[in-house]
Each structure stands twice: as C-alpha cells, then as structure tokens.
Symmetry: D2
C-alpha cells in the first residue's frame, strides 16, 4: 500500500497537474479528490484521460473535517481560501499548500525545494512558492549566495502563460478571443508575489531587498514562465554561470544553460532553467529563469516537496522529460 494522498482544488489547473503527476507517482496512491465545481462527478467525467485505476474516484465537496484516512494532502485553492480551512486538517496529515496563503507563515516551511531541500525534509507543513518566485529565486539564488549582485537593486520583468492566472471564475479577461494575440502588463508595483520574493532574497543575501521592482506580463500561451532579471554587480557571464553550476551541482531539476532559455524547454516537466548574461563594464548582470508555471511553478515543485517531507527520492514521479513541441 502506498502513501495515501488527497488533492483539494482538483478542478483547477494546479490541481489537475497534481493529479497527472500523482497518477504516475510510484509511491503515491490518490484516495481523495475534492473540488468546488465538479463535486459529485467521477474523476473521469472531469478528466477524460485519467488512468483507469482512478477513473471512478468520486470528487467530493471540500470539507476539512471529514477527510478519509490520508497521509498527505495537496491543496490548490485560490488565495485566501486555504488559511482557515487547512488549519482544521488533522495534524497527522502532511500538507503541501500550492496556494498562496501560507508562504512565510509561522509553522509552515517555504518550500524552495531546489535551493534548500534540507529545510524541507521531514517537515509536515510546506508552502509551495508561487510560479514567479519559483523561476526568479532559482535564477537569483547562486548570485545572491555568491555576493555577485546587489540584493537591493533588482528589477524583475516576468512573463507568464495564461494558466498562471488560474482557471478563475470564467473572467472574460482571460477569454480566448480577448487574450489571444494580446500581451499585457498587470499588477504593476503591487503583485501578490512580491513579499515572498523580497523575504527570500533577503534571507539568501543577508541584505535588504526593499528596492525590488517586479512587473508581471500575461503572454498568449497556456503554460510557461520566463523571468528576465536586471541586476547590478561586477561579475562576468562566466562567473555567474560557474556560480550557478556549482550551486546546483547535485540538484536534479535545475539546468544552467549557455544560451537564453525558452519556456517550451520546460513544458510539462519540473525542470528549471537558469542562464546569465553580464556586462561588467556597465555593472550589469542579466539573470534569466524558465519554469512551467504548473510544473516547477505549482504541482511539480509540490510533488518534489512532498517527496522531501515523505523521505522519498526527490525525483520520484518527476522524471518526465518535457513535452516538445
């Protein structure tokens, strides 16, 4: 018998990707799925391609008081919807919260799995990083740890596919006809992912990051996050690449590349690509990071965190190559 796993938020994009990864995981057994819109359906009604073994599982209405026997719960709920509800889940159920409510909250570990796996191992409450922070912090961590850039002078220009905005309640802003062939900035100077990035940059660098600038953009594609980060420092491209290769030497999911990364390299995988271009004459360091916002940016990193807290191999169920083209 495997580890008994549940998913809350099964109808959303994060929950759906968690389902895909758990379905192929060698140690996890999905025994519980809950969701708003699709409660009362079987999994196969909602996901026509779900494996036969899971096809008949009924989707429940989410209620933290009436969970079945569970070892591990993945929560993928809208911001604001998980704080109270997850507090009512039994202590002995381990939780990975893919949503935003528990990042840098007391009693929860911030699950930046590629950077600090040892802090995560053995914990029972892990808050998954947001998709932008996942791409950003993996790219910056080696530079901050190596003091190659100034922590307080960082400009993050980030771009995400539209699934990053969530399945939402059918907001016509994200309707096909209006989003296709359209590119737009949003949430200028006040995005919800700012605090976790500022806090993590400060932890990694030991300095202040109050000057952080972050501008997200919505790109007409389904999946993918690319961050282009403008930093100040004297490092050369070579020094940045070397720092990153050394920092991630034994980490299975981060790839340091010589050429600028493309979002399609990561699609469907838990991989994270980082790359650098520097011009010491202008004290300029450009760091780039690519993830799949539903992979490393959500369900992929969640499974990685779950592997760590369950004492499994970190790569269990995550060794899927990306889908191309």
């Amino acid at each position: 018998m495997g580890i008994r796993v549940g998913i809350v938020g099964i109808s959303g994009f994060g929950g759906g990707e968690a389902l895909r990864l758990i379905a192929g995981h060698p140690s996890f057994e999905l025994v519980y799925a809950a969701g708003e819109g699709s409660a009362g359906c079987r999994l196969i009604d909602r996901y026509p391609g779900v494996p036969h073994k899971l096809a008949g599982l009924m989707i429940e209405k989410w209620d933290p008081e009436t969970l079945p026997e569970l070892d591990l719960l993945f929560a993928s709920l809208p911001t604001g919807a998980s704080a109270e509800a997850l507090s009512r889940v039994r202590e002995e159920v381990k939780i990975v919260d893919i949503g935003g409510d528990h990042r840098y909250v007391d009693g929860w570990t911030y699950g930046l799995a590629d950077v600090w796996p040892d802090r995560i191992r053995g914990q029972s409450r892990v808050a998954n990083p947001g998709c932008f922070p996942a791409a950003t912090l993996n790219a910056l961590a080696p530079l901050l740890a190596g003091k190659l850039i100034e922590p307080d002078n960082i400009v993050i220009d980030s771009k995400t596919g539209i699934s990053g905005a969530g399945r939402g309640g059918g907001d016509s802003k994200f309707g096909y006809a209006e989003s296709n062939e359209n590119l737009q900035p949003y949430g200028l100077l006040k995005h919800v992912h700012m605090p976790e990035m500022t806090t993590t940059i400060e932890r990694l660098s030991g300095g202040s990051a109050s000057g952080l600038v972050f501008t997200p953009h919505l790109v007409p594609m389904t999946r993918g996050v690319l961050v282009t980060i403008y930093c100040r420092g004297n490092a050369t491209t070579r020094q940045c690449v070397d720092a990153a290769q050394s920092f991630y030497a034994d980490r299975p999911f981060v790839r340091v590349t010589d050429r600028p990364p493309q979002t399609k390299w990561a699609t469907g995988s838990n991989l994270s690509f980082v790359s650098y271009a520097a011009d010491p004459e202008r004290r300029l360091v450009i760091a780039m990071g690519v993830v799949d916002n539903l992979g490393k940016g959500a369900a992929g990193q969640a499974v990685q965190n779950a592997n760590l807290i369950c004492g499994l191999s970190e790569t269990a169920g995550l060794d899927l190559p990306p889908v191309w083209p």
Copy 2:
C-alpha cells in the same frame, strides 16, 4: 450631416466590429451606442483605439423607448434578446439585426446580401445571416441555382474561430488556457443555424433540404469560418467554378478561387471566398467557403445590408483589404 446610426450590443464582438466599420464609413455618423456591461462608460474607455471623433460618446443602457434621433440601428444582441425589444423601436428607424431572432421572421428580410441584393434594397427590417450560413450559402448558391448538386444530400462540416461563440458571460469553456491547443465539435445534429440554412437552400433550389447535415467545430483562433461542404452531383470542378464566376460576376465581395481558401485571406474584411473540387466519377462535389465570422459573418454583411437599405453604394465603408498576416 450623415445618416445617424446607432449600435446596440456595443460591448460584444459583433458590436465592436460594427463600431470599427461605422467609424470608417463615409456616410454613417455614430450617434448612439448601448451595451450591458459598459453602460456609463465613454466609448474610449471600452475601445482605447476608437477615433477621436467618437471617443467621448457615452455608452447608454439599452432601452428601445428612449432612443435619440436615429436613421439606422444595428442590433447585436444574444439570441432571444432582440425579438421583443426591437419590436418597440420606432417604425421609421431602419434596423439591421445581426443577432438570430429575426431570420425568416415575418416582416423581416433575410439579408443574404451577395446572393439577393435586390430583395434587400429599400427594406427597413433586415435580419443578417449567421456566420456559418453566410459562408455556406455563398458557396452553395451557384450550385443550387445551376442545379449542379442535389439539395437534399448535403453535409456541412464547419469550423469557426472562438469569437464565433460570442463574448459570452465569461464562460470558462472559452477561457484561453482551455481553448488554446484544443479543437472540438459541438452542437451535433441540433445547431441553431440549421433552420436558416435549410430554408435558404430550399428557396435557392426549389427542392427539399430536409436531409441537411451540419457539424460545427470550435477552432483555436479568434476569427474565421471555413465550411467544407460535401454534395452529390455530376458536375466537374470546372463547371462549378464557372457557375460561381458567372453567378457572382458583378458582385463585389465574393471571390471564386482555384485553390482551397484559407481563413486568413478574409480576416478583417467583408470578403467571401468560395472554391470547388469535384470528382464526377464518384458524383462528389466539395464546396468550400471562407469568411471572417465578424466580417461577412456579422458586422461586414450588416453594413453591406445597411448600404443596400439606405440606397448607398454597396461597398461604402467596406473596401478595406484583409489584414495579413
């Protein structure tokens, strides 16, 4: 002073395209715009690129009783929403109904402008064809008129961009992430456009069309309709092309092409492309038709109809070449 024009349903895709065409029309002056969602806004708040002369026009809440002085009204309302309301519009206001409520309804002329312009000239109540019928009937009319195919043995396989499903109420079915990279049939054996096609085919052929088969598909693109129509008859490709060229000899918007038409040929225009491939040995005639579902399939044909009922040149305001790429 030009012809005073109003648009009802200004926030939808059909209404927006009507706005674009009217803004560039030499004889029309937009004096009234009404819409649900955007009532109380100026036009420029809803359409940031609207010409300066129209920027300040306030969007009203739609009320047929309190219209300003108007010569002509374009209505682009959801199916079911215009029948009662338009009956309360003053007689002397001419109406082109882009929506579906008045097709083959007593007192209204079915505005198949490329096929029977003479029936439309001078009328004051015109029902615009749906986007699928627009593409289909233009392709079939020459074959039916020339008795080149059997009217009762026609299979229409049609494909539309997602704006053809309307701006909707934010139905997440048409959300970007779910619609992109997805192709789906819908409304099998019961689409709302069936009756107007059956009726028109019968009028054009003099025979029954009760065997009509029609299968629409939703294609991941914003604009464009392509119909691939399988007919039975003894004609050769050459005979079909000749019949169409002769049928449309003096018509400004229909183009008969030797190679299969592509939806992008029509984007942003009121053009209609028709093409044919036949195999007399198998008694097979394939007719193909392409339109922009918001052009010939909605606002373009509506302006063409308006030109006809107002006694203007049929091409006034409609001589825009398509947008490529």
Copy 3:
C-alpha cells in the same frame, strides 16, 4: 540490461516524441540516435530537457550500415526516405517505421495496434499508421466490424495541428505568422494517407471502399487530430457506442465517450477517443476520433507496437496521463 533501442530522425517531431517516451520506458535503453540537422551534437544540445542519463549521447549521421548493437530501431523519416535505407538494416534488428514508406508493403505488418494487436505480436517489421488513419480507423473499426455502416460511402473530414505537417525544411507555409489564426484545407482528393485507409476499411468490412472521401485541414495548434466521419447506416447512437465499447472492452488505450471528443483530451498521451452520433431517420452515422498526432498518431503507437513485437506489456512506458491544460 534493457532492450537496446535506436531512433533515426531524432530532430523531427516524431523522433523527438519517441525520445520522450523511450526516456521514460522501463525496458528500453536508448543507445543510438541519428538525425540530419543535428548530427555531431549531443542529445542535450538539441533537447535541453532530456534526462541526465541520455544527455551526452552523440547524435550520429544516419547510416544503416554502421549501426551499433541494437535490438530495436524506430525510424521517423520523411516519406520516401526510409524505403531503401531500412532495407539495409540487419535482419535481427526489429524495426518500427513511423514514416509512410512501408504501410501495406510486403514483409511489413500494418501496426494498427488497438485493432489487431495479435497480428503485430512477434513481428519484426511493423509500419506505423499515419496520424489521420490512426484516428479514423480506430473510430470506424467497430462500425465496420459490426456492419453498422456502408463501407463504400464514407466521408472523412479531418483536422490536424501543424506538427502533423512535420518539422519540414523550414517551409514558410508553416511559419508562425502565416499559420497562426489561419485554417486551411489541403491535399483535396489526393492525400498520401488515402491508400492505407481504403485498404484497412476494406479489410475490416470485407467490402469495397473505393468511394472514400478524405479532406484534411491544417488547424492553428501544435498537436492534435480530430476526424469527423460521415457514414450511412441504420444504427442508433446507442448501437454505435455499444459496438465500440464491446470492440474495445479490453483495449487499454481507446476510450469511447458520450460527448464529442476534444483534441486536448489526448495531448501528450497514447490515448484514442472515439464517439458517435447517429440519426437513423436520415441513415446518418457520425463517427468522431481524437488522437495526439505525435502520440497515437506517431511515437505513441510506435512504442505500443514495439511493446507488442518485443513481448512486453502493451502499456509499458505509455501510461502517462494527458497534459492539461
């Protein structure tokens, strides 16, 4: 030590998908990769997300005379390029030809794996069906076997994503700007997939299929095939569905659905969806089929065939749920 596997045509879309599936296969070990454009590179230079264990494998220039020790070869070469070359591969190397040169060629088995797995088991030369035939034949087989439709009166209207046209030599016809927001029929009355469909329909039905009509369309999406097939027969929807459920009762990859299938249901998987809508009054049966053109339509079915010829579990390496959204 696993089964030693090679891929020829590694740079193309079919070869790339074969790589992805083989990388995750429990019994296959990739020891050889050959390709035109990328010969001399390591796999990771071409596929930045390839698993570490394969990263350093050098891509060879394709030469059938100098193959290493191999048990199994996947060939994914352009039409016309494999016939002669594969004839020079050593007898003892099993071959699955994803390309089109060996379909219904003497000495080769046509690998319609979901329909006739027993003909494939133990063979050593298998020709994979084309992507359109894969979707079409899976949808038609139960109807033909059950005599529910006339074999000689079938119209196939098919739609494929652009990867179905192959990676090509950079033909600008398939350039992004020209293909995006564009939908087009092509290859009317003479597509290269016609003969294998005609032959298979005749084998399954015992009757002539010389009247077959087939019209492919190119849809602006990367992956996915949908076929909408118009047939004549007296069956009801229920009878068709029942026939298909019974026909595929023990087959792992074919799913019979009540609602019309969507291409996204299959993306990234080896699944095949079939569905039916019939109107006995008009003697109309509409059969629909969905596959991923690179999954069941190419590399997925190729791996399934390879499993069959190697005596492995048919689903080995293929139990990946589809990627959504």
Copy 4:
C-alpha cells in the same frame, strides 16, 4: 491622378502591410510592386484579398535601374539589402526605407514621425524607425524632453510578436509548432536596434545613453510590440502622464493611457499607446509603450512619413481603427 507609388519587398510582412495601407490611401496610387519570391505573379496571386483595382498588377523583379515613372517608393528589404540598391534609385523618387540600412545615415532623415514631424516634412529620403525603437522612443520622448528621467540609466525589456522577426527564408526557428506556446529572449546585449535608440535618446536628452540595456523577447503571437522600460528619476506617475499628454497634445496617433497598454489595442492601426507608473520613493519610473510592429513599427509609420514628405495630411489613409478582437 494620384501620387504614383511603388513597393519593393512586396512579399514580406512589411511590404504586405504597406500594400494594405496604400490600397486604402486617398492620394496614393500603386503602380509598381517588386519582390523576390513572387516576381512574375499578379498581386492577387500573392494576396487573394487585394482590391480589384490592384488585382492584375504584375510583381516585378526588383531592379532600381528600371523603375517606371514613380513619385514615391516604399522599400521593405532585409537588413543589408537596401543600402546599395536604393542609392541607384533616381533622385526625384522620394523614398521611405522601412528596412534598417539608412537609420542615422548621412542624407537620410530618421523618421520618428510622432516626435519630430517638422524635421520630416519636405524631405525626400526618410529612414523609418525599427519596431522596438518606435515603441520605445514614443514612450521615452516626453520623459527625456522634460528631464524627468536619467538618460544613462535605462533598461528596456521588450516583447514582440513573431512577424517582427520577418517572413524570413523559412527559418524553422519561426515555425509554428516550435514557436507556439514558446517565449524566448534573443539577441542579448547586441540587438541591431540598439544604435538608433541610443542615438535618439541622446538627441532627445542632450546626455549620454551609453548605459542603455535592451533585451528583446519573441512572444507567440503574430503582431504587436510591448516595451516595458525601467528608468530612474524622481517624477510621479501624474507628472509623467502630464508630460506625455502635453508633449503629444496635437499629435494624432499617440495615446496616453492611465492603465497599462495591451498590444491588441493597436492591432492593424498606426496608433502608439504610452503609459507610466512611477514610485518616487524608489526613484523608479516605468514607461510602457505599445505599437503594432507592422503598423507604427513598420508600414504605418512609413505611410505617415510619406504623408509628411508629400505635404499631405499626416493622417491620410491611416485613420483605421484597430481590429478587435
């Protein structure tokens, strides 16, 4: 008789858009079209939707020595291809070079039409700005002219649709299947548009701009450029907006908006949207600019320049509202 106009590079995206605009221009008459790939065809063979009056015009092989009687020539040739050839065009033929060879070259005026129309009026050799500079310089000009930002501390993160990469020679890099669902930086620290931006910023500000940072990205959409520009200065958002509104008070094509601009606002038009968000506490000014890369970024601004050099109304032929959705 109108002004006799020619287009060189008619098969490319810039040439095609010039054709569309010229076809609808009240004073221009297209009498000459030349192109590589399509020489020997009629215009309608290449552009199936071209107006009837132009349908039969033959596409010539480009030869500057054998031009017909012409008043004005639009050149849209690949970088490097126009310098020598255009030098052989007769003096009395006015030229607008949409390509990159004559920007800030002696004898040519840099045609930044919204910013310095008076320098362009009456000239006979005008070099059109690149698409990125068009979006960038329109957004920065008011800030630079008003000394609201430091000219030497500017980071431009720009994003373009794939038509911005040109129709190319069928480079499979821009193939649909590989570009769709993909987002990628390119040309880091060395893009060909850098020099004209640096020079113009220096002219507008009177200071050095040697520290300019520019990172272009390719976005999976056909048309549209968005630049997000990070500057240093003490201005508030209000001050930036006011400066821009005053700077562009009488300019017909630039729109200053309160909310971040979206690329779809400009599609198919010659409009340029600029917007600002500042945080004086951090001395941060974010300037944003949106254009259609084929409109203001190419053919639109070219026609605007042509209007200026021909003494016509600046908006002649350019008052098309954008296409939405």
